[in-house]
Assembly symmetry: C2
Homo-oligomer: 423 residues x 2
């Protein structure tokens, strides 16, 4: 792989950009490596490896770190990724509020804030608040080297354009130009994806464990969706809508009408909105003392009230949580037989129900999946309920910034900006 | 990527083997290319590309072909893959018989034969017959350059070792050393996989259409299973048992006991064996005039009798075929939402039921999957009921032979043999 790098402008041809991307990505994932290690792992000759390491050092993307172990001769100086070369802003939009964060290039979150707002208030209201939160972070953290923005939304997204596609719980957001809005304001490249895809990426990055390479991340929030990793990469499917498990039919016995028009969809029966709907009825019918009290104390019942009731042993709430588990478990049993993941992680507001939910899901999956597929299968609730989506958004932005195609575009101008990448 | 090739023995280091594998695979998939095209597509410098092309020419894996179009100077000589360098023997074992074939290295089948035998007769009986068929092909085709053997079996296989793992319809085959048996006899490397994985690979190779990159191949034979391609590669899952859809539960209404111990598994309700079981009952209860006649004419009813009845308009048979379609369709609707394939292909004995089956599956999938996931989805019956499994077995063997790891092992001795690869 030959590549021309001039020392003044870093105009790279495609091969050179590929080599540079490989060098940077290897160092970023490995931390503190020697020059010979970089050459061996990327398959570059020592001469070429040296060339691209020097380019990356000059770009300030890599840095010369501590002196490593000597193996006889002069002790080698270790090369490190420079996580402070740039800063990323990310937002994860949910049905009833959003989290924002700033992050360095290693995915270390430098500050997060939560803002309560209904996503159904529409993009103008919500995005003005997101921009306020971003601006607060930029001010308080004195961010001067913004390199990119990542946004997660609770609905389907056409990844190439960053446009939401008929998102069911996001009225007014269909095809809203999120990328254009943020890239115009912040002058940096912007990527948008479905929130649960980002949670899967974030879980993978935060856990740093090979078991997460074959992962199904299931978000049980207002709706229900899944993010799928195969060999550690997102499986998006032919139209990019893989993982849309909320509208899988539970059984012909379920007569609940879903907003999609079908009967008995998983999320219509056991998503967060279904839980609230059923809790309101239970409260008004005096079927749950706990919910009756909660209803009196405030205007409307929330998912957390049902979870609190379950934790306190309120019978209706316990049974309802167990029913969510058996419904989600029924669908997961099918997916386990088909996909054979090594790990299922649960997130979203309903996953806060904890052990009672988890036990019910596990029991259903184990009773209905094949022994070989469940032999080493782990099912757990995320340890990172807030971070996974945010860190996943950072991972999305960084993997795009350091793809050879995009890297080639922006190293010629020295830093990522909106006009060099989204052309 | 630097690599040392000595002109006498072709002892390659790992990088060199990788370069050689890339050159060979590119030419094999592209057919008739120029030297500069090979360099450009593999990312090798012209010097390195020339080096590895010459190695491959000397190994007789590539050959200098016709003279191509001139672009000004001397017209370039085109380089071709040499499909006749080696021959592959493949067998696809089914519940009631097996197909064998010989093939060149492009997957062109040079001769196929079918032999009727029950797989439940056990490995000694069945494999002696397979070896007879192989020997007949070797004799009649005068095969002198055997390079590998590929075997497909109707049950789960641990791919790394080639061992069947508790295959339900193959009593006596659990952990039977298929690889050892054939590699000892034929002195060439042997690979074994689940039959439906091979059908998916074969469909991909035979169709040569990008739509097959995101494929679910569903075999409805005695049992029901699926082979999954993502980006044109097999998705095997964490334990290698992805695609085992025969034991997905249809609904809590189905009370049929499956051999796996659960109630209402897809294949217990609508696989080929279930069809025969129900047809025997229908015949004895006089519910089907067609089956009554067939039963009288022979000892037992087969799947093809039910299909014939359906084609002839026998009401019981038509309804039973439509029920298979709605049951398979119910499971596929779930998988379409989850996986978002671009193509579903049906194979196996029951798929011969044709349009009535296909219409029923399509209707069920369309009514229960999300519009975005079905917008461009194609569902069809394979055009290659016999070839897909055999060609898939050839593809498996060839992709293993030309993996950089295996290529490195056997080019040092000049041709693939058992002891150089399975060490």
């Amino acid at each position: 792989m030959a590549g021309q790098v001039t020392s003044t402008t870093f105009d790279l041809d495609a091969d050179a950009a590929q080599c540079l991307a490989e060098v940077i990505t290897f160092v970023r994932k490995s931390r503190s490596v020697t020059r010979p290690e970089i050459a061996t792992s990327t398959g570059l000759s020592r001469t070429l490896a040296t060339k691209y390491i020097d380019v990356a050092l000059e770009l300030n993307l890599l840095q010369s770190g501590e002196v490593g172990q000597s193996t006889g001769g002069r002790a080698p100086r270790l090369i490190d990724f420079n996580p402070n070369a740039g800063t990323i802003l990310v937002a994860e939009l949910g049905a009833t509020g959003f989290n924002v964060a700033a992050s360095d290039l290693n995915g270390n979150l430098l500050g997060t804030t939560f803002t309560r707002v209904e996503i159904s208030d529409g993009p103008d209201v919500v995005l003005a608040l997101v921009e306020n939160s971003f601006d607060d972070l930029v001010g308080s953290l004195k961010i001067k080297n913004l390199w990119g923005v990542g946004i997660g939304v609770p609905g389907p997204v056409e990844f190439a354009t960053g446009l939401p596609v008929s998102p069911p719980i996001m009225p007014g957001w269909d095809k809203f130009p999120l990328r254009e809005r943020f890239s115009t304001k912040y002058k940096v490249p912007v990527w948008v994806d479905n929130d649960v895809n980002l949670m899967a990426l974030g879980e993978h990055a935060l856990r740093n464990d090979p078991i997460t390479n074959e992962l199904i991340f299931v978000k049980i929030g207002s709706g229900i969706g899944a993010g799928i990793l195969t060999h550690g990469q997102l499986h998006r499917g032919a139209q990019g809508c893989a993982g849309d498990i909320g509208h899988i039919a539970l059984s012909s016995n379920e007569k609940v009408q879903c907003r999609c028009g079908n009967l008995g969809c998983l999320e219509a029966v056991s998503g967060g909105l279904a839980l609230i709907r059923d809790a309101e009825v239970a409260s008004s019918k005096n079927e749950s003392a706990h919910l009756k009290i909660r209803k009196k104390a405030k205007l409307r019942i929330e998912v957390r009230d049902v979870i609190e009731g379950s934790n306190n042993g309120d019978r209706w709430c316990v049974e309802r949580v167990v029913k969510v588990g058996s419904d989600v478990g029924t669908v997961l049993a099918t997916l386990v037989n088909f996909h054979n993941p090594s790990l299922i992680v649960l997130g979203g507001s309903v996953s806060a129900a904890g052990d009672k939910l988890l036990a019910s899901i596990r029991e259903t999956v184990l009773s209905r999946s094949l022994p070989l597929a469940t032999r080493d299968l782990q099912i757990r609730i995320t340890d990172f309920p807030i971070e996974s989506g945010l860190v996943g958004a950072v991972e999305m932005v960084i993997s795009e910034l350091f793809s050879s195609e995009n890297l080639r575009k922006w190293v010629s101008v020295g830093r990522p900006n909106q006009s060099s990448i989204h052309v």
